[in-house]
């Protein structure tokens, strides 16, 4: 490769710094906001940095509103979202894991058929998945609400799982099919010559080989499930079944909530997926690219 001239190098450095600022700058107010008391935020509305830092917001949320400390002791009103946060976190986790496992299982079976057993109708099914992936969620929620009401699936975690399964299934198929197609078929062929059935070849050869693809798909499914607001917002009205996005949305209509507390709860709500994306970046990147550009 040719060496870069210094003006060009300088330009790319500045461009990179701008890109980094674009990506990270919005986090600064969240962190600063979450680390101060409401009084310190109101005291000087022109100050960029808080006068004193405190972890009281996090302590309050993580204890479900019990550990008040000196800052919140005088408070007669606490947002309900604060009390509900630990339970909602658990709900989100349960729903996310269930959706990921169920969707991954169904999608991998079907993706193998679509990738390896090329029949006219499986190819059509693949295109149907592409269209289904783009079904607008709000369009789906109106009838799902009526149906779930009729079949008693409102206000339950399993109802949320069913709806998210339907929403995510086509996308999971889109991510996995190119992945399975890209696997060399030599090993499978050898196993078949040795007398394995297709099903056995799938279980013993293809699935173990495609662990990275399944990981990529799985982590994306979990993240989307963790982010999902509209499905639980519409299907659930009882606090014990609310997920993290729903209680966060509850802060919107809560006129007494403080931004400091809100930013702390936001940070806690985004940490799990942020951690997953940073830790499993390689898989997330691959899954997102194959899911959009068929590999």
């Amino acid at each position: 490769m040719m060496r870069l001239s210094w003006p060009r190098r300088a330009f790319l450095w500045v461009a990179n710094l701008c890109a980094i600022a674009f990506l990270l700058l919005p986090f600064v107010p969240v962190v600063l906001g979450s680390l101060q008391s409401e009084r310190s935020m109101q005291k000087n509305v022109h100050a960029l940095l808080p006068e004193e830092y405190t972890l009281a917001n996090f302590r309050l949320i993580l204890s479900g509103g019990r550990s008040k400390g000196p800052i919140f002791e005088q408070m007669t009103y606490l947002p309900k979202s604060v009390e509900r946060f630990p339970a909602a976190f658990l709900n989100s986790l349960l729903v996310g894991l269930a959706v990921t496992l169920v969707t991954l299982a169904a999608a991998s079976l079907s993706a193998y058929a679509l990738a390896r057993l090329r029949l006219r109708w499986t190819q059509a099914l693949f295109q149907v998945s592409v269209v289904c992936r783009m079904v607008p969620l709000i369009v789906l929620m109106v009838p799902l609400y009526v149906l779930f009401r009729r079949y008693g699936l409102l206000n339950s975690l399993s109802g949320i799982v069913v709806a998210e399964f339907g929403l995510l299934l086509p996308y999971a198929v889109l991510i996995l099919v190119p992945y399975f197609s890209g696997l060399p078929s030599d090993l499978e062929d050898a196993a078949r010559v040795d007398g394995c059935t297709r099903w056995q070849a799938f279980l013993r050869i293809v699935l173990p080989l495609s662990a990275p693809g399944l990981a990529a798909c799985g982590v994306i499914l979990f993240i989307i499930s963790w982010h999902e607001l509209l499905i639980p917002l519409i299907l659930v009205s009882r606090p014990e079944f609310m997920t993290v996005p729903v209680i966060l949305a509850g802060l919107v209509s809560d006129y007494f909530v403080f931004f400091t507390l809100m930013m702390a709860i936001c940070l806690l709500g985004l940490l799990p997926t942020l951690f997953l994306v940073l830790a499993l970046q390689k898989y997330v990147v691959r899954g997102l690219v194959t899911g959009a550009l068929k590999g």
Binding site: S110, M134, V142, F165, G166, L229, V277, L288
Partner: protein, 319 residues
């Protein structure tokens, strides 16, 4: 014919030269069995509800009817009410503004960042590359709350920063002004969704062989020329993909609207999904009207989806 020939014949178009196997289901049956869970999911949770939405849109459906379990036939009443509702048309107009502005920004910023990080020779671009997906990891509703704090009139950090820089003397009520409120939602949304575009552009740029640029440089092309004459034309397919995908998804923006403006000030940031949500799931809980509006949206998005299939998945060789 040998006993094994029947199964072999069925699978021969799929896998020529396969040896005869002991009792194994045919490829067609296996494909069907493997697809049973997916087909069930697609039919029960996607296809049937969408058809049911069509049914609901021709019936009167409110809380009272839900309790009674009977939906009286309403003919085209829901649609005529929908098309006579000024707020619906207003929401569609806002949606168009939102989609055009956000998709344009996503593509331009996405390309700019992707080109910036694709040069291996700058050490810093490796750092940027690690950070790219961070906004994508933020839950949409959190993103909305985060920006609602940033642009808050009293305590927001946008006002604080602009004041510190001496650009404003009095704090601006960003969400109190129709245009500024829309701009705030667009900025928040674009921040979260652009990483997806950056990622796809970056992947596509990395697939371009370096020799092409070297040959262009030998022929005397400036880097500006190779950007316009080489890189962008090569990226055209992936840009088209992101245009369609982002258009359909931003058509459905909901979380940021809910968290930042709730449609305000007045009706100035009502968009399509917000309209449907408010009609169907907030007082007056007119689910029939919501279903009608949902169907109109589905048709609009369906057209984009079919364009996407035609463009990307037209030929069925994936690898």
């Amino acid at each position: 014919m040998t006993p094994g020939a029947g199964t072999d014949r069925a699978e021969s178009p799929v896998r020529p030269g396969g040896a005869p196997r002991r009792s194994e289901v045919s490829a067609g049956w296996l494909a069907f069995l493997l697809n049973v869970p997916t087909l069930a999911g697609l039919v029960l949770v996607l296809a049937y509800p969408i058809c049911f939405a069509g049914y609901l849109s021709f019936h009167e459906v409110s809380i009272r009817h839900l309790r009674a379990g009977e939906f009286p036939f309403a003919g085209l009443a829901n649609f005529s009410r929908l098309f006579q509702d000024d707020v619906f048309w207003l929401s569609l107009r806002h949606t168009v503004v939102f989609v055009v502005a956000s998709v344009a920004l996503e593509v331009v910023i996405g390309l700019a960042v992707a080109l910036t990080i694709s040069d291996e020779r700058v050490w810093l671009s490796r750092v940027t590359r690690v950070l790219i997906l961070i906004p994508w990891a933020v839950p949409p509703v959190v993103n909305g709350l985060l920006w609602s704090f940033i642009v808050n009139a009293q305590y927001g950090y946008l006002n604080r920063a602009l004041h510190k820089l001496g650009l404003i003397t009095d704090y601006v009520n960003w969400l109190g002004h129709p245009r500024l409120a829309m701009a705030a939602v667009i900025v928040a949304y674009v921040w979260r969704t652009t990483p997806f575009n950056i990622l796809l552009y970056h992947a596509a740029i990395q697939g371009i062989p370096a020799q092409i640029y070297e040959a262009a440089a030998v022929d005397g092309a400036s880097s500006w020329q190779s950007l316009w004459r080489l890189t962008l034309p090569i990226l055209r397919p992936v840009i088209a993909v992101t245009l369609i995908l982002r258009t359909t998804f931003s058509f459905m923006v909901f979380d940021e609207i809910l968290a930042i403006t709730q449609g305000g000030p007045g009706n100035d940031t009502w968009v399509a999904a917000w309209y449907t949500y408010r009609m169907a799931f907030q007082p007056p809980f007119n689910i029939g009207l919501g279903a009608a509006s949902a169907w109109v949206l589905a048709v609009i998005v369906g057209i984009a989806a079919i364009a996407y299939v035609k463009l990307v998945y037209r030929r069925v060789d994936y690898a």
